[in-house]
């Protein structure tokens, strides 16, 4: 593969100088230059195709998984209506939280405490509901707790110049301790809200409305406002962003605030879906958010290649894969382990394809 690089430009410049010497050299050099230009154009075209394929890889993965889900589901006589409902239930919380988190990841930052933050916000929401009986106060408590938690991480990192990732590692432990303390306030090992109340609102309509409103807000902010552009600029080149007057601290705080809003809404839906919360509830959400984003084509280092739709594509893809594997491996001993290995292989394959147009000579870090 022949990429355009500074060396090629120098070669062309040298050729131009040579053509001044004599006509024979000019003819030879011109032929060489034409050949080089053609080769470069071919290489550029190949690179463009590679990048297009890389961009489409997550969508292709989604389409393949959707076809597999329908084929496996119908051939095994599965109730597809119920399977689709389960699929939405499985993916909607992940999609909401992951979409908000894209604002953090687009900056090249990394928050590992999102799962723990979801649990604490859900627990606070549950306690508020038990104290007041109000749905709206419960929603408000979930959002306020999650945004506050998120902003604490951002402020700590911004004020004390701490690496964001390690700050969120510390927050993970703090939130785990807070969750344990919240559970102890009830005198038992769990926080429970009225099941009849949760069933009333744990409906597809509520989930889809919450998801649609939040996703529309995120798409608008990320794709059509200065905030989204700045997030990608900071992720792509923080020095340039700083030199162009971007406030890194405010940008980080805005990103964490939006992510906090997503976590709050996710926590609200979590407490409706799982009215009995323990310290282990939502324990896998944090990592599944990460997997969903990457599966959907999100670049972990952030920057201009960040896509707000990554969480949606990845979240649905993961849910489709889980559902398909559940149907296929039903009743098999160790089936969950095999399903997880298949998930790992597909995850790596999709990420590899998505990165295919962006390889460097040295290993990525």
């Amino acid at each position: 593969m022949h990429d355009l690089n500074p060396t090629d430009v120098n070669k062309e410049t040298d050729v131009t100088v040579d053509t001044r010497d004599d006509a024979k050299t000019t003819a030879t050099s011109t032929t060489k230059a034409e050949t080089t230009t053609k080769a470069d154009a071919k290489a550029a075209s190949k690179a463009r195709r590679g990048k297009l394929f890389a961009d489409l890889a997550p969508l292709i993965g989604l389409a393949v998984l959707a076809i597999a889900f329908v084929l496996v589901g119908t051939s095994s006589g599965t109730n597809m209506g119920y399977a689709v409902e389960t699929l939405i239930n499985q993916s909607v919380i992940i999609i909401i939280i992951a979409t908000g988190a894209i604002f953090i990841f687009a900056m090249g930052s990394f928050d590992i405490s999102l799962g723990a933050s979801t649990l604490v916000a859900a627990m606070v929401a549950g306690l508020v509901h038990n104290a007041t009986g109000s749905l709206w106060l419960m929603l408000g408590a979930a959002i306020l707790t999650a945004v506050a938690t998120s902003l604490i991480s951002a402020t700590l990192a911004a004020v004390f110049n701490l690496p964001v990732f390690v700050t969120t590692v510390a927050m993970l432990s703090v939130l785990g301790a807070v969750a344990a303390a919240l559970v102890q306030t009830t005198g038992g090992a769990q926080i429970r809200i009225d099941r009849a109340f949760s069933r009333e609102y744990d409906t597809l309509a509520v989930k889809l409305i919450v998801a649609a409103v939040f996703l529309a807000l995120c798409v608008f902010l990320f794709n059509y406002t200065r905030l989204g552009r700045v997030e990608k600029l900071v992720g792509g080149n923080p020095m340039t962003a700083k030199l162009t007057g971007v406030s890194m601290k405010l940008t980080a705080i805005a990103a964490f605030g939006i992510a906090g809003l997503g976590v709050g809404l996710g926590a609200f839906l979590t407490v409706l879906r799982t009215p009995t919360l323990t310290v282990t509830s939502a324990s896998d959400i944090g990592m599944n958010i990460l997997v969903a984003m990457v599966f959907g084509g999100m670049v972990i280092s952030g920057g201009p290649r960040s896509r707000i739709y990554a969480a949606i594509i990845g979240g649905i893809s993961m849910a489709l894969l889980n559902q398909t594997m559940s149907i296929m491996l039903q009743g098999m001993a160790g089936g969950a382990g095999i399903a997880q290995m298949v998930r790992a292989v597909l995850f790596l394959a999709v990420v590899w394809l998505a990165a295919s147009g962006f390889r460097t000579k040295v290993l990525p870090r």
């Binding site: 590692v169 432990s173 344990a180 324990s283 972990i300 995850f347």
Partner: protein
Amino acid sequence: MGSFMQRATGTLIIPVGVFAVVWTLATLDGASLFSSGDSLLILARATAVTMLTTMALAINLNSGRFDFSLGAMALASSTIGASVAINVGGGFPVMAAVTVLSGALLGAFSGFLYVTLRISPLVSSLGVTLLYEGLAFTITGGGNISFTQYPELVSFGKSLVAMTAVIIIALIGVYTVFDRSRFGSDYRSLITGQAAAVSAGVKEKGNAIKTYAVSGALMGVVGLIQASSKGLIEAGSINFSTIGIMFTAFLPMFVGGYIGRYSNDKLGYLLGALSMSVIGLGYSALKLTSAQQSLITALLLVVFLIFLSNEERVGRWWRKVKGGNRTPQQPSDTDAAQSVGTGAR
């Protein structure tokens, strides 16, 4: 001599300070750090596990490679080792050899995936975590492996001598491999200047795979210690439930990085792990709940990071308080907090 004193002070101030503070708090509370006969064993075992995990994390993180799969490698390797020892026989030597070898192979495979796929190491490690957790689950059908009925398999994790030997051998081994070998020179050159080192002929792919293999072998030993001390392997852990062990290594890693400025970072990881284990004994002596322990450990991490990231500011403030204008000698190493890249800011 002054230089020696400075290095010795810098190396020992944290472990000695931690011991003094924890011992004082325990004494004030009327408790003892070494109240039971097993206290020294618990200290040695915790130090061994934390030191090995910290080394396994740090050797890749120093190169900007974040690895979520450490816990999964410990789980999968110990599952393989225990299964072979129980089904084939051979007792502890077979279990130990198979576990550590499996760890090294799993680590090498993880590195092979990374260099072959050429994707972000963090992302690659997510896939590897899922893969190895799934592997352990599939081997046992989701159940636990219990071998408390085999005394020879559980004696290793309950021996103070064995734990001390593990610490010494691992420290000397990792020091030799990374600080006293051609491989180690290449490894360090890739850390300080990746592109330049590759241009100069350093084989980056081979170096990365070997580093992952060492990391896997270290986690194999961790898996062996944990399995042997409990007589049980919870092989049904899936959905990223193995990543928790990695978080225990962050504070000792930063402490190790700090100590490394004055002596050697590998010795720093040992002293950082020892400090954390002493704090653990303090938690037990003071009868703190697990929530309180998590909170205090997290606060210690944040406070230490704030210190590392603002050391210059703290130094300026200290000089101002002392009223002196002498510029103190700055450590030549980069800031520990900055020197460990996560691939994310």
